[in-house]
């Protein structure tokens, strides 16, 4: 027993609201984020309805919904789930640590996130509605927009603060608190992705914070960081000092926002890695290659950002530079996908719910990634930029990509977190219908984009002649969105049902027969203060499945 496990008397506030236990904080993040995601999903359903039945909501409200759908899904939904929930909950367990390195900071980072979320949503209640200048918030439009935009910026500042505190925590925890024997190349791939993601967040978010400060100055103090001279608004020349550069905002924004997309995908790949290795009963193919690819990918992600700006009139030199770096960055992504696929060869594949989601991630991410290639080359980007092709591309990566990884992770780790497994039949129903409707919903977007249908059109493009051949897909997609919504019901019912069930007296702490420390050294759920009866020592790598001459088809990491 660890000698000084001393749990001070905790009252309701310090145990459940201002908890410093990484497990509870992880659950706080997860529950909050899933509710935000549900709200963001509903915004999209309304938008899809408006695109078919134009006039349901005003164009301004449609724009607000668009901004908030994107912002909520990315910053209040997906990242808090994969980093704040999965990262916080699993990281200390997987490295054999009693908690994160800075428990108070952890608590603060959740509450900053919550505060940021509430601030953002408050925009809906303000005159003029929530922010409506695109999630990218480009000036000059964003500078002259209604007050909802100011609130959006403040919300972003809180969220960025939360993210910075969280990344520092994850990096220090991973470097300093690894259990004895847990060397770098014995780390579960999930831990590598969390570490790299945190470095990306640490270094990429501050320029957006700086940009937010500058935009606040422009909106509140009448400065002209982003306002060019002689701008005419509503028929009148704007009386400001001018001399600013709207392009400057784009640089600072995309300097974050490109690495941000790798933040969206890397932890998802980490989740997939754990589930695939476990359900093929053999080690991942190319673990060391995958680690190097992830490191290289993170580095490259900082020097590709202007491929979002090919249409701003940049010089040829810059164009070449960013096109080349963008092509190079596709290499590590392909390596990662290939390693996953090669791992399947010769495996004893178990088709449980988490594995079904994990397997489907692979072709979905493949489609998302491949459709990015024409966008990364300046010439082919010209007709595709700001069309539905882009929306199809990135949604394929995040929706049937990352979100499927989130589902996979929830089904996989639910028994560890609660001591009760989710129902497999409901899980498989959830999977099959989500998979079908995701594809029915997002695939038509490519055809619409290739035909030239622009993004962010409140009427869905009905008023344009060149879209008449593909605008009918909007009806189809509206129905698909309803199907996708209904497909989530088995999932929600499953969770509520399972939570209400009574836990077995001695729940199986390793129902998936996994090798990593959270399964092999901690009970289900893990011990409230300290996670483990004793801090484990690690003797082997993370994926020792089907080792020849072993008693069972897996050897735990902490088995001598």
């Amino acid at each position: 027993m660890i000698k000084d496990i001393k749990c001070n008397e905790k009252n309701f506030w310090t145990k459940y609201i201002f908890s410093q236990d990484h497990k509870w904080i992880g659950i706080q993040y997860g529950v909050t984020a899933l509710f935000f995601m549900l709200f963001g999903f509903w915004l999209m359903v309304v938008m899809r309805y408006q695109m078919v039945h134009s006039g349901t909501i005003s164009p301004d409200m449609y724009n607000s919904f668009g901004v908030m759908h994107g912002t909520i899904m990315v910053f209040l939904g997906v990242v808090p789930v994969i980093v704040g929930a999965f990262g916080n909950y699993l990281l200390p367990l997987q490295i054999g640590a009693p908690d994160m390195a800075f428990p108070k900071l952890n608590m603060a980072s959740y509450w900053f996130y919550f505060l940021g979320g509430v601030t953002m949503l408050a925009g809906f209640a303000l005159p003029g509605g929530a922010a409506n200048s695109g999630w990218t918030s480009y000036p000059p439009l964003a500078n002259i927009a209604t007050i909802g935009q100011t609130v959006w910026i403040f919300g972003m500042v809180f969220i960025i603060t939360s993210s910075l505190l969280g990344s520092i925590n994850i990096i220090v925890t991973t470097i300093q608190l690894r259990a004895p024997g847990l060397t770098w190349m014995r780390l579960p791939f999930f831990v590598w992705t969390q570490l790299v993601t945190s470095f990306i967040l640490l270094l990429a978010f501050p320029p957006l914070e700086a940009a937010g400060i500058l935009q606040l100055m422009d909106r509140l103090a009448d400065t002209s960081f982003f306002m060019p001279s002689g701008l005419v608004v509503g028929g009148e020349v704007l009386q400001n000092s001018g001399g600013g550069s709207p392009l400057l905002w784009q640089h600072l924004f995309w300097f974050l926002a490109h690495p941000e997309v790798y933040v969206l995908i890397l932890p998802a790949m980490g989740i997939i890695a754990e589930i695939i290795a476990n359900n093929i009963r053999k080690p991942l193919w190319g673990y060391s290659l995958m680690v190097k690819s992830v490191l290289f990918l993170a580095f490259m992600s900082f020097i590709v950002w202007a491929h979002h700006m090919f249409l701003t009139g940049m010089g040829q030199g810059m164009s070449y530079f960013f096109a080349i770096t963008t092509m190079i960055i596709s290499v590590p992504s392909v390596i990662l996908l290939t390693c996953f696929i090669l791992s399947l060869w010769g495996g004893s594949i178990r088709y449980n719910t988490p594995m079904l989601f994990a397997l489907s991630f692979l072709p979905m991410f493949g489609i998302g990634g491949l459709t990015g290639l024409p966008l990364g080359l300046p010439l082919s980007d010209i007709p595709l930029h700001d069309t539905y092709y882009v929306i199809g591309h990135f949604h394929y990566v995040v929706a049937p990509g990352t979100i499927f990884a989130i589902f996979a992770g929830i089904y996989f780790w639910f028994p560890k977190i609660t001591g009760k497994p989710l129902n497999e039949i409901l899980g498989k129903v959830h999977f099959i219908f989500s998979f079908i409707f995701m594809n029915l919903f997002f695939m038509p977007m490519f055809f619409q984009g290739l035909a030239g249908l622009s993004r962010r059109l409140a009427d869905g493009g009905q008023s344009y002649a060149h879209t008449q051949g593909i605008v009918h897909y909007n009806d189809f997609m509206m129905y698909a969105s309803w199907g996708l919504a209904i497909a989530q019901l088995p999932f929600i019912i499953n969770i509520i049902m399972t939570l209400m069930k009574k836990r077995d007296e001695n729940p199986d702490s390793n129902p998936w027969q996994a090798t990593t420390l959270e399964w092999t050294a901690a009970p289900s759920p893990p011990i409230g203060h300290g996670n483990f009866e004793t801090i484990p020592s690690v003797y082997r790598g993370p994926y020792e499945y089907s080792v020849p001459d072993a008693e069972e088809d897996f050897i735990p990491q902490n088995k001598n």
């Binding site: 270094l203 392009l247 900082f302 202007a306």
Partner: protein, 120 residues
């Protein structure tokens, strides 16, 4: 260990004096009219970097830290320069492509500043 610390005290005092001298240098250098604008920029940057190096290595004990800190910082410095240089190289009419950096800069030429009619 405490002797080790005691030996550092004179070092701190010397660094203090060096920093004050370098500050005087940088102010003095700003009054010199260099033949090209970019020389003035370079001199200013070099002096600031020298001061920064002294603070980082001596006051922040960077030269005593192990690899990890160096690694984090090197990474940050690389990205910092990327962020700094990109906007300069972006526009082919900008200073970094030689438009304006090679002119004789005179300090009397300061602008009228703010115009209310249409703004500058």
């Amino acid at each position: 260990m405490s002797d080790d610390i005691k030996h550092h005290i004179p070092v701190y005092k010397n660094v203090f004096i060096a920093l004050l001298i370098l500050t005087a240098c940088t102010v003095g250098a700003s009054y010199i009219h260099f033949s090209y604008a970019w020389i003035g920029l370079l001199v200013g940057l070099l002096i600031a970097s020298a001061k920064g190096y002294l603070v980082a290595s001596q006051f922040m004990h960077l030269n005593n830290e192990k690899r990890f800190i160096y690694g984090v910082l090197t990474l940050t410095v690389v990205f910092f320069f990327v962020l700094l240089l990109m906007p300069l190289l972006w526009d082919e009419n900008s200073v970094a492509h030689g438009n304006g950096a090679y002119e004789n800069v005179s300090h009397e030429h300061s602008d009228e500043g703010h115009h209310h009619e249409g703004g500058h």
